[in-house]
């Protein structure tokens, strides 16, 4: 493939955001080069764990603990890390990063075409007006340069293409998407919904909104996608294309235009900059196989490398005009890093449903929409809010591990499912704080000689106060649902662990306090955009991927318009 062609756009990264940028530009007739640091992913063929039964794997989907210790010291902490998904996780030994001794950070990452869109949890929720107005209302962080009205149609646009299953609820704080039919609730969830909503009129217990096809459109079927088969092994990749990933949806759409060139196994070291024109000229990439650098040029650069990597690339792209990092005249690059704080909640036994069960493996749970501080009030116990992802299940044989008993009695006991359990797991918003940062480590480099990103992200009092309410409310809702034997759980919410890390290249109205404008475009260098999580000025409490998609499609549309007008040439 020739890389000296006249590319209009270079997209850095091929995950959730990069796939959308590639599709939008390619469909609009622009020549797009997608640079992906990871290996190539052919749909189906490279879903190495798909269709493997537990007994097809020598260790039944468990990863060799020696290999975990040597190569996956961080990645194995991800709930989705298994032998059948290991090919989608980066090798920690070969790809080091740094964090303070007293500030742990779990950087969970893919290393392939498709990025984390292959093993994401598929939960898809719109933001509301409240979320975009939050920074302005309480003075933390800077004001978002956009409001819900600016993105509403873009949500509809990406949802129609991606396919989101869910139920329309008419909630102002969690606007409805363009939905495909919702997945079914269990009998226990239906009862919990009725009881919780009766006890707490401000709360809505709904089926999760998830990027799975339940009634595929003609457009989706044309791309080879079909309905969810309820195997619940999504993180291995899905040959049915039933859940949204860039590999199943956006990249094939870009590919069929003939306008996209994919360059796997090349990582971007820096953005090249021409001081005369004060524009970026392209990127310097390193071939991971030969370790040779190469300069690639284009009119416009879209950074979609993931939050940490986009920060790293911009911080590493220094020049005389940009001594502290690319497009950093504001000085805020790498600051205000955020993640959702979670790993806290409660579960209980739901009596009265012992004769009921489910059929099929639903790859989705339930959701309780945020109900605290809906008016962005500042006089409550804490600022902002949280939501709950939930699940219900009847425990089976894995519950016996670590327990007692053996023989025919044990085998007979495990023949029947245990009592229904209902679980609520809280996800809270973290405030944007200047001292939560990504910097480049002064000495440590990776094997390509690129300075390692160094993370320093800590929770504040607001998160600590919020967590008390998150736990207490979970218990109160389980009580209202009629649960017994209620137990709370709480683990240390390591930043990064929620895999919703965002910020560092924030959007804003004022070039003095933000890196990007309202179209994800660098204030300082108009032909460079960042449209992944790095662009976020705050993080709401919803899962962010749907908003990555909408902002990317919107920014690509804007950039395309600018190019057509000759403004970005």
């Amino acid at each position: 493939m020739s890389l000296d062609g006249n590319f209009d756009v270079i997209v850095v990264g091929s995950g959730m955001s990069g796939g959308w940028a590639a599709k939008e530009f390619a469909e609009k007739g622009f020549k797009v080069l997608v640079v992906e640091r990871g290996k190539d992913t052919k749909p189906g063929e490279d879903y190495l764990g798909e269709f493997k039964e537990p007994w097809d794997m020598e260790f039944r989907d468990r990863v060799d603990p020696n290999l975990v210790a040597s190569d996956y010291a961080t990645q194995h902490k991800c709930y989705a890390f298994r032998e059948s998904t290991r090919n989608f996780f980066i090798n920690d030994r070969e790809n080091p990063y740094s964090h303070g001794e007293d500030a742990p950070f779990n950087w969970l990452r893919g290393d392939q075409v498709g990025g984390k869109s292959l093993m994401w949890a598929r939960q898809s929720y719109r933001w509301s007006e409240m979320d975009f107005a939050a920074n302005k209302a309480d003075g933390h962080g800077n004001d978002w340069p956009i409001r819900y009205a600016d993105i509403e149609n873009w949500y509809s646009y990406v949802e129609t293409f991606a396919g989101i299953s869910g139920s329309a609820e008419g909630l102002p704080q969690l606007p409805d998407s363009v939905f495909q039919p919702p997945m079914d609730m269990t009998c226990v969830e239906k009862a919990a919904k009725e009881r919780i909503e009766a006890a707490f009129p401000d709360r809505k217990f709904i089926i999760g909104r998830a990027a799975h096809l339940t009634k595929p459109t003609a457009e989706q079927m044309e791309l080879g996608r079909s309905s969810c088969q309820f195997r619940s092994q999504c993180e291995r990749g899905c040959s049915y294309g039933a859940y949204f990933s860039s590999v199943s949806a956006t990249l094939p759409a870009a590919e069929r235009t003939g306008n996209m060139t994919m360059l796997p196994r090349h990582l971007v070291e820096r953005i090249n900059y021409d001081p005369k024109s004060q524009r970026a000229t392209g990127v310097r990439v390193i071939d991971r196989d030969t370790k040779q650098p190469k300069d690639l040029s284009a009119k416009v650069i879209f950074l979609c490398a993931s939050t940490v990597a986009t920060n790293q690339i911009m911080l590493n792209s220094t020049s005389d005009d940009h001594p502290t990092g690319f497009a950093n005249s504001s000085g805020v690059l790498g600051k205000y890093i955020m993640d959702h704080h979670h790993r806290l909640g409660a579960s209980g036994v739901m009596p009265g449903f012992d004769d009921k069960y489910e059929a099929g493996r639903r790859p989705n749970g339930t959701y309780v929409a945020r109900y605290h501080n809906l008016d962005n009030r500042t006089d409550g116990e804490f600022l902002r809010g949280f939501g709950y992802q939930g699940s219900s299940m009847r425990p089976t044989w894995p519950e016996a591990l670590g327990g007692k008993g053996f023989g025919t009695d044990l085998k007979q006991q495990l023949k029947q499912p245990g009592p229904w359990r209902l679980r609520l797991h809280a996800f809270g918003e973290q405030l944007p704080i200047e001292t939560n940062t990504i910097t480049l480590h002064p000495n440590k480099t990776d094997s390509y000689g690129i300075p390692q990103p160094h993370m320093d992200v800590r929770w504040s009092d607001n998160e600590r106060k919020m967590r008390k309410a998150m736990k207490a409310d979970a218990v109160a809702m389980l009580e209202a649902a009629g649960a017994t034997n209620i137990e709370t759980f709480e683990n240390d919410p390591i930043p990064g662990h929620c895999i919703h890390e965002m910020g560092g290249v924030r959007m804003g109205r004022d070039p003095k306090t933000s890196v990007l404008n309202g179209f994800n475009q660098c204030h300082d260098v108009p032909n460079v955009f960042a449209t992944d999580g790095s662009a976020f000025a705050s993080i709401a409490c919803q899962n962010p991927s749907l908003t990555f998609m909408a902002l990317t499609a919107r920014a690509a549309d804007y950039a395309a318009g600018q190019m057509k007008e000759g403004k970005l040439v």
């Binding site: 260790f59 069960y357 009847r394 044989w397 894995p398 016996a400 591990l401 007979q412 495990l414 023949k415």
Partner: protein, 181 residues
């Protein structure tokens, strides 16, 4: 290759001694060792014990048990490839303690002993929270319920193709076979 030969010799020897003793119980367990593939040398002399105990943990009922599911070879593979040297040492010495407990109860040959007598010793280990017993128990439970044999024991669908959140349990008939942890 040398230890393959020696392990085959050892197994032939064991098989012979069992045949002489006239008991059949150990034969299926030896037959499941997977040819002469992969019993690590340091575990060889414990394989009979592992086979008998795993069989007592998940016995054959109207469906196959741990032996039908090749659990002993699964345990041998975990021992060989997943355990650290220290864990291997602890496991072998723990097995030797279990042998000792069986001897103390008057059981010299676990493979020919009355299952009820073996169970009585295992029950004591279970009550006492013996670590090696717990490991054997959990490896057996995990190895069995992630085997194809377990698809006969519990309800299983490879590709469900639909989701129904609320069906009568009687319609499914048993727990669904979870796909491991």
């Amino acid at each position: 290759m040398t230890h393959h030969t020696s392990s085959m010799d050892r197994r032939s020897l064991l098989r012979g001694s069992v045949t002489v003793a006239g008991a059949a119980i150990v034969l299926p367990s030896l037959a499941t060792l997977g040819g002469c593939s992969s019993v690590p040398p340091t575990l060889e002399k414990s394989m009979t014990l592992i086979s008998v105990i795993s069989d007592r943990i998940i016995p054959e009922t109207d469906t196959g048990g741990a032996l039908a599911a090749n659990v002993p070879s699964y345990i041998a593979a975990v021992y060989e490839k997943h355990f650290t040297e220290e864990q291997q040492g602890d496991f072998v010495s723990g097995l030797s303690d279990i042998s000792g407990a069986l001897s103390d109860a008057g059981i010299q040959f676990v493979d020919t002993a009355e299952p009820a007598d073996v169970d009585a010793v295992l029950q004591r280990l279970d009550d006492d929270g013996n670590e090696t017993w717990q490991l054997l128990r959990d490896l057996t439970v995990f190895g069995f319920y992630t085997s194809e044999t377990a698809t006969k024991e519990l309800a299983y669908e490879e590709i469900p193709g639909r989701y129904d959140g609320c069906v009568p349990l009687a319609e499914v008939g048993s727990a669904w076979l979870a796909r491991g942890v």
